[in-house]
Amino acid sequence: MKSNKKTAIIISIAMIAAAIGYLIFGNFGKNLVYFFTPSEVSAFTQDRYGKKVRVAGLVVKQSLKVDPQTKNINFELTDGAAVIPVSFTGVPPDLFKEGQGAVVEGYWEADRRLHSEMIMAKHSEDYMPPDMKKEGKTLPKKDFFKTLKMD
């Protein structure tokens, strides 16, 4: 009984130490990358082809096209510097629109397109009623492209 308790204490301390260690020394430091930017992806060399990547960017206006036969959705993603083409199969989220942020998971292939089956909508930190938006009012917020380039 006594040694059981000791093991339990050791296990719980080890768990907490692992959690805190992960915070400080693990993936959580400077090299933490939740997504790549279109600039980084377009600089990928051959050895990255076929690997799964997560890319965030702005959906380029007038780039969104639905293939009438395959129902594939094609669009372009930009970070203001580079533009990459994306082919998507599936149902995109409601908030996925041209001129809005999106995080796209997919495979970067030899045809230098991102082939994706998963899109997440990335929205900005401003909240306002529709008529305020119609009047063209803006609230202070971070430049979208800047939110992509943080490390």
């Binding site: 339990a8 301390i13 805190i20 915070l23 939740y34 965030a56 997440m120 202070p140």
Partner: protein, 238 residues
């Protein structure tokens, strides 16, 4: 004796906190869910924000109370302060869980996923793990003094997670949106900001009330245990 004064103060002010909290929360819920407009981009889903954000803020406030209380305990070694820490941790788990669950419910229609391994989400989930670890550690230790001391040290180490949670959206690439209230200014329209503020104030007050009540419960429990122990030893010795 400081403990009895502390407990008397809690008892004196707790109902005031409860009443004010009720007032702010009902005003917040009414204005947030009925009066305030939908968002230009998210639509009606934005109303989840009025629950999610204040719970997340209050969860972090609970950890701040726990942190301050742990420092206080290590300084004064007063058991009633440890009771307050113990109380704050349990309620912190509740608030952290509500923030995670409502965030997930909000994320599905807006982001298109329930969960993603984004720095804000991961660091906040670690907050929950630290709190659960804290209660586990407490339950494994028999000696009340050791229990209080070890767990206080854990809280102080774990405090590093709090600024990480807050600034994760500014420091790293995330799916979660950046801070809406920062040095850049306030990026929430006033028609949405005031229900959010009502809810935040209401939940801070509720947090304080719950910690006050729970601290008294834990204090009485410990008194009772001590008394039981004394009685048992008297019976055995006689």
């Amino acid at each position: 004796m400081i403990a009895s004064i502390f407990i008397a103060k809690l008892r004196k002010y707790q109902n005031g906190f409860a009443l004010l909290s009720l007032l702010f929360l009902s005003a917040g819920l009414y204005t947030g869910l009925v009066v305030s407009p939908p968002d230009y981009y998210q639509g009606e889903v934005v109303r989840i924000m009025y629950i999610h954000v204040p719970f997340a803020e209050a969860a972090m406030a609970a950890y701040t109370v726990l942190f301050a209380g742990s420092l206080w305990y290590l300084w004064k070694r007063e058991p009633v302060i440890d009771n307050m820490c113990h109380a704050a941790a349990g309620i912190g788990i509740l608030f952290t869980s509500v923030a995670l669950i409502t965030g997930s419910i909000w994320a599905k229609p807006t982001w298109n996923t329930w969960w993603t391994w984004d720095p804000r989400l991961v660091s906040f989930a670690i907050l929950l793990l630290i709190l659960i670890g804290y209660l586990m550690l407490r339950s494994f230790l028999d000696d009340p003094e050791k229990e209080a001391r070890y767990s206080a040290v854990l809280v102080i180490i774990g405090f590093v997670d709090l600024p990480i949670v807050h600034f994760s959206v500014e420091w790293w690439r995330t799916l979660h949106q950046p801070l809406s209230i920062s040095t850049r200014g306030v990026s929430i329209a006033s028609s949405m900001l005031y229900p959010l503020s009502f809810m935040s104030i209401g939940l801070y007050l509720l947090l304080a009330y719950l910690i006050m009540v729970r601290t008294q419960m834990l204090y009485l429990e410990h008194l009772l245990e001590a008394k039981q122990g004394r009685l048992l030893s008297e019976v055995h010795s006689s």
